[in-house]
């Protein structure tokens, strides 16, 4: 379930990045990269799980929790990175 959530988040972040590509301070490229990387990693996980003969996608309550924390974790990391990069840009400009 969290794989599908990450996939949807990547699609949404990529769409937002496309529409707001001129607003560099938003750093939507990083948000897309964060969710995209997790999606790729879980794709590999899904492939290996399926190769072992287990169900690759499960929809248990814990999966829902992981999906929620995935979304929040990605947004948290994006905010921290955006803050650091925007602050760095301002420091460079001030110099």
């Amino acid at each position: 379930m969290y794989f599908i959530t990450a996939l949807v988040c990547t699609a949404i972040a990529a769409t937002l990045w496309f529409f707001f590509r001129d607003r560099k301070a938003l750093h939507l490229d990083f948000l897309t990269i964060i969710y995209g990387a997790a999606t790729l990693m879980w794709t590999i996980d899904v492939i290996f799980t399926a190769a072992e003969g287990e169900a690759p996608l499960t929809f248990e309550p814990l999966d829902g929790q992981i999906a929620l924390w995935t979304v929040l974790g990605g947004l948290f990391l994006w905010m921290i990175i955006s803050f650091i990069f925007n602050h760095k840009d301002k420091t460079v400009e001030a110099k």
Binding site: Y2, I34, Y35, M41, T43, T70, G73, L77
Partner: protein
């Protein structure tokens, strides 16, 4: 079990490499500041910036997978930090096998995706530069 550690370790390595490359680029730019810049394929985006995108990819993926592993209780906030490490030699072997297969495959896919992205961006920038140069020549 701990497959994300492979990408996290690689991210640390890429971070170190990025700073080394940046230092080299700054030194090179300082030494050749008076010379006219020659445009080559891939020269518009610096390698330090390209590597920072790879670092971001690796950290981003590792961070979200770490959250998943914490919620699955495969990673705990107390020693030995990895649940499998406290479950005997068989569990440790299984963990290392998973890191060697799934972890390395994840790393390979991330690096491949980044490499494809770098080539596409360089190609687009190169085409734009060529078109601009052709217009200026007219």
């Amino acid at each position: 079990m701990a497959c994300f550690l492979v990408s996290a370790t690689a991210a640390i390595g890429v971070g170190i490499a990025k700073y080394a490359v940046k230092h080299h680029e700054n030194k090179f730019a300082l030494a050749h500041r008076d010379e006219p810049k020659e445009y080559k394929f891939g020269s518009e985006v610096k390698w330090s910036k390209k590597l920072s995108y790879l670092e971001m990819t690796l950290w981003g993926g590792s961070f979200l997978l770490a959250i998943e592993h914490i919620l699955h209780e495969e990673v705990v906030p107390y020693p030995p930090f990895l649940t499998a490490a406290g479950e005997g030699a068989d569990a440790v072997n299984e963990m290392l096998t998973e890191m060697g297969t799934v972890g390395l495959a994840m790393l390979g896919v991330l690096v491949a995706a980044w490499a494809i992205g770098v080539v596409i961006v360089d190609a687009v920038k190169y085409r734009k530069h060529k078109a601009k140069a052709a217009l200026e020549a007219k």
